[in-house]
Symmetry: C2
Subunit: 485 residues, 2 copies
């Protein structure tokens, strides 16, 4: 399965969670290593999950008033340098085109690590008056960040994402937009990916390079580590000042626009794998499963074959307008092999159909989430039955993940307890004095960082005030610590 | 509108057609020049046309059994060199990453100018047996070709496209696939873009670098030039031999796979603009128009405003499940300004709605394709009326373009006549002896090239045999010459 070509992605790692993700992603044919350092190939089955995510999210992005557009892959190196924090954050990770069309380039071109700079350049041409605002734009694109340590889906040199970029007349509007889009991400995560998330604000240390505030959603993966699943940034006037993006307000005064940017990426596919799996393989939530129902025909004698396959076709036809459905009628594999195969691939519902089922007008159904076998389900009314079951599976996967999150979130009041508890993973709710030094100290000791200052704590911590987990200073700030990807 | 930054895209040109395209693309806000040489920004209105095209084509690609996937942007330079003709064709146009993550790279990485090489590398890992075939894959991606002379939509350094890549056990299957996908492109062009096309085979001179055969669809733009709108390549075993992509056949013998690749790009947006426009602006075919119907409220006194806007809302609500519809209720612009604005943007149907229409329960409809005003159309049954009208407009745009194509296709029998006729553009049907020298001679004299050897001639030429347009040698090959983009 693996090849020697892509050392970076296959780097020996003692991290069980990441190793499991790679194993599942390869075996279920979601992705493969590519011959290019740190880049992956997203195979059809993995890409189809991305298409389901895209389709759900694109709809929500448009319903909140945004329009898609497309900006160049290349960013002149001088653009990155216009915003001081931004260049400091991204320059070390950039891939640079220095040679093109047979010649050295006069100005080196950076492959976009994110598009704030080039989009601001265009905004400064397009925005003249308050009547042009807000500008609400989104882009689906590929991104390149030259990471040292890469992992399939979680951190690849090239990845796919959407990046929203907006410009507003006021601070209030921009903050509202930043929070609104974070809630869109939360909805996507909870209602489609069946992953409960904690939403909150990042600390200064974890903030996007160039942002005033970064909000995020964080999910707790099955190995006890936290995954940043989406971020929404309030950029203030940092980029509009750097790119001179101004508008004439209603009083005829020139003002810099207030901005936001927000994004989620193919990392979300990794989050689904890391949240929903067991020893048999993936457990995909029905809403984003490429195949929601697989029908496995079961027959021994060739006389049975025709009857069974005919019925499979009939059942598939009845269900195909409501479900992404497939009949696995391959001759070279046994039913048992097919059961394992589709369980590995995480198909939520399997229908087993044999000669007895045909004669009794029933089917056997197997739920991937619970493993439960539902026998003698009448073919009549099957569509309704499966629509209900599909919802139930979607909700059950969310419920299980939510239980896991709550069971692994702990209120911790002193460092000793912290150091011990963090070993086994999970979220630790702690008081923190807001100093980066304390955050850094904890990280050095335990590898854990502040994942966010949650809008709402996932568990009760009724104390109004407490003591910083690191320096013991009195503080009223409660945060969520965890080890992270 | 223009800036001094992008000299390449704005290069002074005496070519009227291209200048008109740029003018329309900028004014209708389909695209804008970017600060990066030869790259464009696709603005929301232009990108939405691309989304309509994508959605129609993606459906057809899937219905013909293909699955989407995603391969890396970067191609190791050594990969390109494995197929001799391929590297010769593409190397001069490549953009190259030489520096990344703060270091010079050991192997330079080419930004994909097309993905045959990297995809073949993966195919050679995935394909083992005849049971793995056919592999039918498509990718939606960005592509970079460092062109010397660039034009908005028609030829940009970076563009968006889809590229299909397939592997088959036999020559016959691969040829069938190549032709099938060309027909998908023809359907897309004729039924969605309302552009009649000539389908046929390319001459050796115009063939894709690395292909055995290249098929194409060509459309005749309003300025009399031909535009290559899509290509489908039969690659034979050229790439499978270069990348060792082999399978074990049913007899246990190792064989190289037979392959195809095929693509269309954002150039199609250019083809729509160049085919459907008049002095007022674009005329978008309803099936791909971002806005299919615009409602313009008309009122003088503020007492009328509420009544009119209420009715607009009512009409919009009735129509919004069947149409992409918008009410332009902006106060700062007059109805006349709005008429011009939406005509420039090519919206197929406009509804004018004033106080008299409200009281008589009618609307006024204006067709963009003919300019015709349809007065006193009852609000009752409007949905059905507009569905029919929309189809009529779609068909009328195609009919007009087809008439234009036929009126500008000429059977030409000698070079003198050829040289004279080609001046005013159009397709010239000629006999040709199949020699590249003759093709080159004609090009030097007239700038025209063989656009294709058509499967079926667009006009009658009943002679079975004739004389080569350049060298007068006897031949039975009839081809289509034209000036091209």
């Amino acid at each position: 399965m693996s090849s020697a070509e892509n050392i970076e992605l296959q780097e020996k790692d003692t991290d069980q969670g990441e190793n499991l993700l790679a194993k599942l992603a390869l075996e279920a044919e979601l992705a493969d290593y590519s011959p290019v350092k740190g880049c992956m190939v997203i195979r059809p089955y993995g890409y189809s999950i991305w298409e389901q995510i895209q389709s759900a999210l694109d709809k929500m992005i448009k319903e909140t008033g945004h329009q898609n557009a497309y900006f160049p892959l290349f960013i002149p190196e001088s653009f990155l340098q216009k915003e001081a924090e931004h260049v400091e954050g991204f320059a070390p990770e950039c891939a640079v085109v220095t040679y093109a069309g047979g010649k050295e380039l006069e100005e080196r071109l950076v492959i976009r690590p994110t598009s704030e700079t080039i989009i601001n350049h265009m905004f400064s041409k397009w925005i003249k008056s308050y009547r042009d605002l807000p500008v609400l734009i989104n882009q689906w694109a590929n991104i390149v960040r030259w990471e040292m340590r890469t992992r399939l889906f979680l951190r690849t040199t090239e990845f796919l994402w959407q990046e929203g970029h907006t410009a507003h007349a006021t601070y209030e509007e921009a903050i509202e937009e930043t929070k609104k889009m974070l809630q869109v991400y939360k909805t996507l995560s909870e209602e489609y990916l069946a992953i409960p998330v904690i939403d909150g604000e990042k600390t200064e240390r974890e903030r996007f390079a160039g942002a005033v505030k970064t909000y995020c959603i964080e999910g707790l993966m099955k190995d006890g580590k936290s995954l940043q699943m989406g971020t929404s940034h309030y950029l203030g006037q940092n980029f509009s000042k750097a790119f001179d993006t101004k508008f004439q307000d209603q009083n005829g005064q020139l003002q810099f626009v207030y901005q936001t940017s927000w994004g989620v990426s193919t990392r979300l596919i990794g989050s689904v794998v890391m949240t929903h799996h067991d020893e048999k393989g993936l457990k995909l939530p029905p809403k984003i499963a490429p195949v929601q129902i697989v029908i496995v025909p079961i027959y021994k004698e060739s006389t049975e074959k025709d009857i069974v396959l005919k019925k499979c076709k009939e059942v598939e036809d009845i269900l195909s307008s409501d479900f992404r459905i497939k009949t696995d009628s391959r001759d070279q594999y046994s039913p048992g092999w097919k059961f394992n195969h589709w369980e590995l691939k995480g198909v939520p519902i399997r229908i087993n159909l044999g000669p007895k089922d045909v004669s009794s007008n029933v089917v056997e159904i197997v739920r991937r989430d619970t493993g439960e076998k539902l026998r003698n389900i009448p073919q009549e009314g099957l569509r309704q039955y499966l629509l209900k079951l599909s919802n139930e599976i979607q909700e059950n996967l969310f419920r299980q993940a939510k239980e896991f999150l709550l069971k692994n979130t702990f209120v911790i009041n002193n460092e000793k307890e912290f150091v011990k508890k963090i070993e086994s993973g999970g979220y630790l709710v702690c008081f923190w004095c807001e100093s980066s030094t304390c955050e850094e100290n904890i990280k050095l000791k335990t590898k854990a960082t502040v994942r966010c200052i949650p809008f709402k704590l996932p568990v009760d911590q009724n104390q109004e005030e407490g003591y910083c987990i690191s320096c013991n200073k009195k503080t009223n700030l409660k945060v969520l610590f965890a080890k992270a990807y």
